[in-house]
Assembly symmetry: C2
Homo-oligomer: 596 residues x 2
C-alpha cells in the first residue's frame, strides 16, 4: 500500500474540533470556507500521493550526487516534481498576495505540509526551507529586497536556504566566524564555510537565495555581533531576471547521512561572495529566529508526518501478513494463519501510534491556527494569547512529536518483523529519515531548555498560567458531561501533575539553574502529554456531538476508543516524568566529566 | 576515540558483585580463577580493540558483495581478522575440551562476547551463529556427527548457520514448507528456499555447516512435523577434510538492510541438497530452540554491546565538543565555550545510558553464570534454580536490553547533534546496526508473549515466585544497612509493583488471554526494571564494602551515584508500566482491523 493522505481526519479536526468556521473574520479565511479547504486538501492529497510519494524510495536509494564542478544532481524524478509543484502553486498557498501568494490560512498550509512531508520528506524540505527564507525577508528585508526576492521565493521558482552552522559552531552561534566586509557600493563580501546547508545546491530551481549569518568586520564578539545577509547563487537583475553567477558561492561537497538522501545537505564555501545585509547590522540572529520558529513547528510536523506514513505501512502489513493464531482462537480459520493484527502486542504498537498521531494532528493544526491568530486576529488580546501559546508550544511540539515520531517509526518497523529491517520495505527509510528531525532546527534538548529557561518564565509565566487556566475552564465546563468523564478525569489528573512540575521548577530552578536543565526534557514531555489530553478531550467532545446528532459513521465511535486508549495507556507516563523532574540536578551532575 | 573494552567493570562484576571465586567447584572455573579471567579478558580486549574495531566502519560502508557465481565477498579486512580469531582460539573459549574447546566458564565467554560485539557486531555474528550450530549438534547430534562437526565448529574453522525463516514463515514456523526426502543411504535430499540466513555464504571459513529446518515427506503439518538437518556447503570426508561441493546448496542473493552490512544476510536455495537428520524425526524445533535460547541471550548482549560502544563515542564527543556555557557559569573560561558535557540535558542522556549499561552488564553476566550453574552445578536444586532463572530471564534480557540498546544508541546520536546524523561519525552505524536486535531471534513482542504465556505460568509460577522470594530475602538481609537504604527502598517498591502485576496477570490472563498479551511488553519491562533494581543494590553493596575497606578509588563512589540515579530517575517508569498493564485488553483490541 502506498501513502494515503489523511484528509478526512484533517477536515474533522479543522471543522469539528477547531471550529474553523468561527474564524471567517480573519483575512484569508473568508476566501477558504471549509468546503474550499476540502477541495484544496483533496487536490493537495492527489499531488502528494501521485507525484511526491512515488519518488520517495528512489530518492533514498539514489541520493543527491555532487560533481567536482560544484553542481548537485537530485534523484530521478525530483526535477519534474519540483516543476509540477511550482506550476500547481503549492508553495504559494500561505504566502502574501502582495508577493504572488494565495494568502490562504497558515493552518491550511500546515495541513498540506503534513501530507507533503509524509509523501516525501527529503523533497519537501526544499520548498520548506524556501518558505523560511521568504519569511525572514518578509520580516526584515527592505522594500526593494521584498519586491525582488519574495515573489520568486513564494512560488519556489527560486530556492532558499538557511546558513547558520559552521564546523566549530552549531547550537552556539556566538562562535560564528564567517565574515562580511562592507563595500563602497553598500554590498558586502562574505567569506567563510557553512556546513549542513539543506538544499544549498541543486538542479531544480532557477536560482538559490542563501540567507547567511556572518559577522561584519569589527562587529562585537558573541551573538550580538551577527548579521544576516542575502547571498544569491546568481546575481539577480533588478527585474528579477537571473544574472551572472555570484562567483564566490560554491557547494564544495555533500554530507553522507543516515537518511533524507534525496535532500542535498551541502558544505558551502563563501569566498568574497557578494551579499546584501537584511535588516539592521548585528541583529541577524533575531531575524534568523523568525525562520527558526516557523521551521521548528514544521519540524515537529515532520516527525508526525513520517510517523503517519510509517504507521500506514505497518497497518497494511499487519492486516496482510499471516502468521500465528489469535490467542482467543483462529480469526481466519480458512487461511494458513491469522493476520498479525489479531495479536495484542501488535495492536498495542498500532494503538500507541494511532493515539499519538490523531491527537498530535489536532495539537499541531491548533498551533497552525494560533499562527494565523497571532498575525491576523483583529483583537489585541486574542493576538497576545496566540503569541503566548505559540511561544510556549513551539518547542514542545518540535521536540515531542519528533521524539514520538521516532518511536512510531521504530514501532512500524517492529510490526514488519524482519522485513522491516530490509530496504525492500519502506520502514527503514522512514526511520532513517525521521531521525534528523530530533536534531536539526535546535536539538530536542535545546527545545527543552528553551521551554524551561525562556518560554516558561517569560512575562511572569503568563503563557503557562493561561494554558493551565484554559484547562481548568474546559474541565469545569464539561465535568457534568457523563460522555466525557474519562477524558475530563484524565485531563484534571495530568493538569495537576503539570502544575506541580511548574511549581517545582519555580521553586528550584532559580536556586540552581541546573535543576531546571536536568528536568527540562521530562517537563517538556509532561507539557506535551497535558496538551494531548486536552486535545483528546476536545476530539471526544466533537465525536460525541456527532454521535448524539445521529451520525453512525464508525469514525466517531473509533475516536472515543482511541482517545480512551490515550488516557489509559499513554497518559500514565506523565507521573514518571514528574517523579524524574522532581529529583533535580544533584545526581545528574554529580559525576566528574572523566567518569564518563 | 575508539572503543575501549570495559574490562575493569566486567572484573568488578565478576569478582565483587557475583563473587565468582565461590564457584571454583564447577568444571572450568577451577582452571580460571579471577586472575586468569583477568588475563584472558585483557587479551580479548586487545584483540577486539585492535583487530575487530578498526574494520567495523569500513565493514558498514563496503558491505558484503554477492556475485552471480553464488559467492559472497566480505568487506576488506574481515577475512584476515577471521583467520586471526580462529588462530587465537577465541571461538573455542567456552567449547567442550572433548571437541577441542577450552572448556572455560560460559560467563567468561559472555564477557568476551560483549567486547567482540561492541567492537564489530556484524563480524561477531559469524562466530556467534557458528557457536549456535555447535550447541545444537552437541545437544542432539549422533556421536559420529559430533566427532565430525564439533571440533571444526568449536574453532570456527567451519562456519555454522541457522535456517528457519522462509518467505511465508518467520515467527510461525508451523507454516514451513522446505521438504526433506529420505534416501536409501540414510541421508535426505533437502529442497526449499530460506531467507535472512546470517552468514549463509562468505569467503572466510573453509566450510559452512547449515542447520536447516525442513519437513520430511509425509510428516504431520504444523510445528510437530519439523525436523532438523545438517546440510554442509562442502561434503566432509570422514576425517574432517573438505570434500566436494554439496551441489544443491546455493546463496542466490543478499538482503539489502538498514545495518549490519558486514554480515552476509543470505537468501539460500536448497535444491535436492544432501542433508543428515539430527536427532529424532519431527523433533527439530526442540533442537532449534537449544540454539535459539542461547542466541536470545546473545542478542540481548548485542543490544547492550552496541549501546556501550555508542555511549563511549558520545562521552568522548561530549567531553571534547565546545558549545555554549554551563548554566551555572563558565567551566572552561579560557576556551571559546564549555564542553557540552556541562549541560544537564546532555548529562541526563549519558547518565541514563551509564545506569542501564552498568546495571545491565551485571544482570547479563549473572545470567551467563546461571548458564554455567544450570549445566554444571553439582547440586540438583542449584541446577533447577538456575534453569528457572534462565527460562524466566532470557526473554526479559533479550527484549529489554535491545529496546534500551536502541534508546542508548539514539541518545548517543543525539549527544552528537548534527554530526551524529552524518556517516562521518560512528553514531549512525551503531543505531542502524543495533536496530535488528529488537527483531531477530524472536521479535521483542514474541519475547514478551513467551514471558507471560510460557515462562511465568510454567510449573505453577515457580521461577517468578523464586525471584520474588530472592528479592524479599535480599531486602530483609540488607534493610538495616544505612548505606543501602535508597537501594533497598527502591527494590521493595518495584518488587511490590511487579508482584501486583503478577497477581493481575494471574487473575485476568486466564479469563482472557488477550489481557496477558496486551500487557506483556509492559510486564516484561517491569520485570527487567525489578531485576536491574536488584543488581544495582548488589553493586552498591559491593561498592560500599570496598569503600568501607578503605579503597579510595572513585570507581566505587561513582557506582553509588550511578545506582542512585537509576533508582531515582529510571525506576519510576515501573509505575507507568504497571498502570498500563492493568488496563487490560479491552481498548487494545476494541477497534476492527479496518479502522487502522
Amino acid at each position: 500500500m502506498t501513502y494515503q493522505a489523511p484528509v478526512r481526519d484533517q477536515l474533522f479536526v479543522l471543522r469539528e474540533v477547531l471550529g474553523i468556521e468561527h474564524y471567517a473574520n480573519l483575512p484569508g479565511f473568508a476566501d477558504a470556507p471549509i468546503d474550499v479547504m476540502e477541495q484544496i486538501l483533496t487536490e493537495g492529497a492527489k499531488f502528494c500521493e501521485e507525484v511526491l510519494a512515488p519518488i520517495n524510495h528512489n530518492g533514498d536509494k539514489e541520493g543527491c550526487i555532487w560533481s567536482p564542478d560544484n553542481t548537485v544532481t537530485t534523484p530521478t524524478g525530483f526535477k519534474a516534481a519540483y516543476k509540477a509543484m511550482v506550476e500547481a502553486g503549492w508553495p504559494a498557498l500561505g504566502a502574501d498576495p502582495a508577493f504572488g501568494g494565495q494568502g490562504l490560512p497558515r493552518v491550511l498550509n500546515l495541513a498540506y505540509s503534513e501530507m507533503s512531508s509524509s509523501a516525501n520528506m527529503a523533497f519537501s524540505m526544499y520548498p520548506g526551507l524556501t518558505h523560511g527564507a521568504y519569511s525572514a525577508i518578509l520580516a526584515g528585508g527592505s522594500d526593494e529586497q521584498k519586491q525582488l526576492y519574495l515573489p520568486k521565493l513564494a512560488s519556489a521558482q527560486w530556492g532558499g536556504t538557511m546558513n547558520l552552522t559552521e564546523p566549530q559552531c552549531g547550537t552556539d552561534l556566538g562562535l560564528l566566524r564567517t565574515k562580511a566586509v562592507p563595500q563602497a557600493d553598500g554590498t558586502y563580501r562574505i567569506s567563510g564555510q557553512k556546513i549542513w546547508i539543506s538544499g544549498g545546491e541543486h538542479d531544480m530551481a532557477e536560482n538559490i537565495v542563501h540567507l547567511v549569518l556572518a559577522r561584519i568586520e569589527g562587529a562585537p564578539a558573541g551573538v550580538h555581533g551577527i548579521s544576516l545577509f542575502i547571498v544569491p547563487k546568481f546575481l539577480p537583475g533588478p527585474d528579477g531576471s537571473v544574472g551572472p553567477r555570484n562567483e564566490g558561492v560554491k557547494c564544495v561537497g555533500l554530507e553522507e547521512k543516515m537518511g533524507i538522501h534525496g535532500n542535498a545537505t551541502c558544505v558551502m564555501s563563501y569566498e568574497e561572495a557578494k551579499g546584501w545585509l537584511i535588516g539592521e547590522a548585528n541583529s541577524g540572529l533575531k531575524l534568523m529566529f523568525v525562520m527558526m520558529n516557523e521551521a521548528r513547528l514544521g519540524v515537529g510536523l515532520q516527525g508526525l508526518s513520517q510517523a503517519e506514513a510509517a504507521y500506514q505501512a505497518a497497518c497494511a502489513f499487519a492486516r496482510e501478513r499471516l502468521q500465528g493464531r489469535a490467542l482467543t482462537g483462529p480469526k481466519n480459520p480458512d487461511g494458513p494463519a491469522d493476520p498479525i493484527i489479531v495479536h495484542p502486542d501488535v495492536r498495542r504498537m498500532l494503538m500507541d501510534s494511532k493515539a499519538l498521531l490523531e491527537g498530535g494532528r489536532a495539537f499541531l493544526l491548533w498551533a497552525g491556527l494560533q499562527g494565523d491568530l497571532l498575525h491576523e486576529a483583529p483583537d489585541e488580546a486574542q493576538r497576545q494569547k496566540a503569541s503566548d501559546y505559540m511561544g510556549l508550544m513551539t518547542p514542545v511540539l518540535k521536540a515531542y512529536f519528533t521524539d514520538k515520531g521516532l518511536k512510531i517509526c521504530s514501532d512500524a518497523m517492529q510490526v514488519h518483523g524482519g522485513s522491516g529491517f530490509t530496504e525492500h520495505f519502506p520502514a527503514s527509510q522512514y526511520l532513517r529519515d525521521v531521525r534528523i528531525s530530533l536534531i536539526y532546527e535546535g536539538a530536542n534538548g535545546i527545545q527543552a531548555l528553551d521551554l524551561v529557561g525562556r518560554k516558561l518564565p517569560a512575562k511572569g509565566g503568563r503563557a503557562m498560567m493561561g494554558f493551565l487556566a484554559d484547562l481548568d475552564a474546559f474541565a469545569a465546563e464539561n465535568e457534568a458531561d457523563a460522555g466525557l468523564t474519562p477524558f475530563v478525569d484524565g485531563l484534571k489528573t495530568v493538569k495537576a501533575q503539570l502544575q506541580e512540575g511548574v511549581m517545582w521548577l519555580m521553586q528550584n530552578g532559580l536556586a540552581n539553574p541546573d535543576n531546571a536543565g536536568a528536568g527540562s526534557t521530562d517537563f517538556l514531555h509532561l507539557t506535551a502529554l497535558t496538551g494531548l489530553a486536552w486535545f483528546w478531550a476536545q476530539i471526544a467532545k466533537a465525536a460525541n456531538a456527532r454521535i448524539a446528532a445521529g451520525d453512525t459513521d464508525p469514525f466517531y465511535a473509533n475516536k472515543l476508543v482511541t482517545g480512551r486508549y490515550f488516557v489509559e495507556r499513554i497518559l500514565p507516563e506523565a507521573g514518571a516524568h514528574l517523579a524524574k523532574l522532581k529529583t533535580g540536578a544533584e545526581l545528574v551532575m554529580a559525576l566528574p566529566a572523566e567518569a564518563f
